[in-house]
């Protein structure tokens, strides 16, 4: 989806604001939202890529101007509405409608949060027969893709070299449409000189993690 979330290389933004360098949260509701996202009992059919897509589909003006955790709140609201778990009246009132019979869900408890490591679902899947080997020259796909995808605009249609292979990993484009489909995932190295006109004399490089369907042989 060619939306404003795909920010790499967009010009016109000013200096990086570091005025709150050591404060990841600026208000109690921000840390609360971060924690809600971590502690929520997710429906099994939600995924990290569906969440990302729910944020990407915000009104473009909101994506560019609202605070980060405000956008997280909106993404969760949107996913809940989309899945018909809540309705707008309930979100407006901050209260479930009396008629709503609560599902017999067991939310994460404080004990489960404390004192242990949390790992996300591993996106690695068995199998996979990579078409490319380390050192192979490739060209990234020129066309965009509908829905959620992880090939940024600035890196499309560019020559690159396979830097490493990460195995057969869930494809975000598929996961965000509810399909458990994996593809070989590579690190692709692209020269800055091949992307940015003003970097023609630069030796700098950009590495991206790209799935096989994002690539073609050079």
């Amino acid at each position: 989806m060619d939306s404003v979330h795909d920010l790499g290389g967009i010009e016109g933004f000013g200096p990086v604001d570091r005025s709150h360098e050591d404060e990841p949260f600026h208000a109690p509701w921000e840390s609360r939202m971060y924690a809600i996202a971590a502690a929520i009992k997710r429906p099994d059919d939600w995924s990290i890529d569906w969440f990302r897509h729910a944020r990407e589909c915000a009104r473009p003006v909101d994506y560019l101007t609202l605070g980060y955790f405000e956008q997280w709140c909106m993404a969760y609201e949107a996913m809940l509405l989309d899945s018909d778990i809540v309705n707008l009246d309930e979100l407006a009132a901050g209260k479930a409608a009396a008629a709503t019979a609560p599902a017999n869900r067991q939310p994460v408890t404080a004990e489960q949060v404390r004192g242990k490591a949390h790992y996300p679902e591993n996106p690695l899947r068995p199998g996979g027969s990579p078409c490319f080997a380390v050192g192979d020259k490739v060209v990234t796909r020129l066309a965009g893709a509908p829905g959620h995808t992880r090939l940024p605009r600035y890196a499309r249609g560019k020559p690159g070299v396979i830097q490493s292979y990460y195995g057969n990993q869930l494809l975000p484009d598929a996961v965000a449409t509810g399909r458990d489909e994996a593809q070989p995932l590579y690190v692709v190295l692209i020269r800055a000189a091949d992307i940015w006109p003003e970097s023609a004399d630069s030796d700098d490089e950009i590495c991206l993690d790209l799935w096989e369907s994002y690539l073609e042989p050079a």
Binding site: E11, I40, G94, P107, A110
Partner: protein, 216 residues
Amino acid sequence: MPSFDSKRLGEIHRQMHSHLPSDPALRVKSLESVLVDKQMLDSGAVDAWVEIYCEQMGPKNGATVVAKAWCDPDFKARLLEDGTAAVAEFDFIGRHAAKLIVLENTEAVHNVVVCTLCSCYPLGLLGPPPTWYKANEYRSRVVREPRAVLKEFGVELPPEVKVRVWDSTSEARYLVLPQRPAGTEGLDEAALAALVSRNAMIGTDLARAPKQEEAA
């Protein structure tokens, strides 16, 4: 079940804009209450997350890993070979990456990490990301003019040092292993860890030797 439909999500966002209050504090409070009502959330668990991951968790896990890599060549080799397994040798709590890649800065290459499409970050080692990491300015500019952005952070690299920008587009997470500063030969791991800033492990800073008076 989700619709998996971008247009429907867009329409939902527009409806929310028309029907829900604009104050985010109010929105988050309502969201929490509704989720508790729906038995999808335990407010005690939210309290615990806030306490542990918002108030206590910082970049010290990452700094501990870097300092050990500086002191123990075998560990460093394991860390660069398989970051996920090497970090699992520590008993860190937190949210860890399914795959952790450690990028070594050298005399020839300086690595810097970004997520241009969202905000992917090694939370388990660095804690919650700083606001600038998630901001439009950093995400748009560091892939295009990394040296100008690094200069804003106080890092000026000589032209012969290549800058390699890593755009985190998958579930792999990247941690930069900064170069050990000169003049720190006598320091132990704890003292070295104190020299490793969060930004040095993102690549927007260098690990710096303690000032002379502090080193004495």
